[in-house]
Amino acid sequence: EAEVAQSPRYKITEKSQAVAFWCDPISGHATLYWYRQILGQGPELLVQFQDESVVDDSQLPKDRFSAERLKGVDSTLKIQPAELGDSAMYLCASSFSGASTDTQYFGPGTRLTVL
């Protein structure tokens, strides 16, 4: 069964360093999502792609976070520079069309620790 892949699974970095996360959605899924999940909270959407275009990045801290999905397939989320408050689980999800009724399929996540 096809799954969303993410790497790395764990990342420890020092503040002010740059980090990058990678996501490979389920083949054929047009919509890709990046979420941040702080301990004790639910996932919060950071950015949503429809194919290679950003359709929602209203919650993305654009002074330090960037995301791209150049060919409309896999995606990279970058943080530069990392801050202590960025420690969280970063989840990637994909769905077939991005409609509100679509099931979102989640990856295993990348747990980021900023020291």
Binding site: G42, P43, P108
Partner: protein, 107 residues
Amino acid sequence: AQRVTQPEKLLSVFKGAPVELKCNYSYSGSPELFWYVQYSRQRLQLLLRHISRESIKGFTADLNKGETSFHLKKPFAQEEDSAMYYCAVGGYNKLIFGAGTRLAVHP
């Protein structure tokens, strides 16, 4: 403001007892409602959605538009139901999640 509230962080029951995980939402318009579940060491996955009106693993959820609630219920809890449960509201092509409720089913 669009918001999903799950008032209980932890719900602890014994096997065979009924379970109700509460979810209240605040949303303008007509949202889609979902329950997602995360079992230990597994990824977050869809449990059920309102639009399908289905029962999955014995769980059901009823949408009460007057109370803006979408509580998840199961008449007889099983140990394998122990997991983290998230209520989510979908609209404008995005999901808003609640903070989650951990269900612990004891033997």
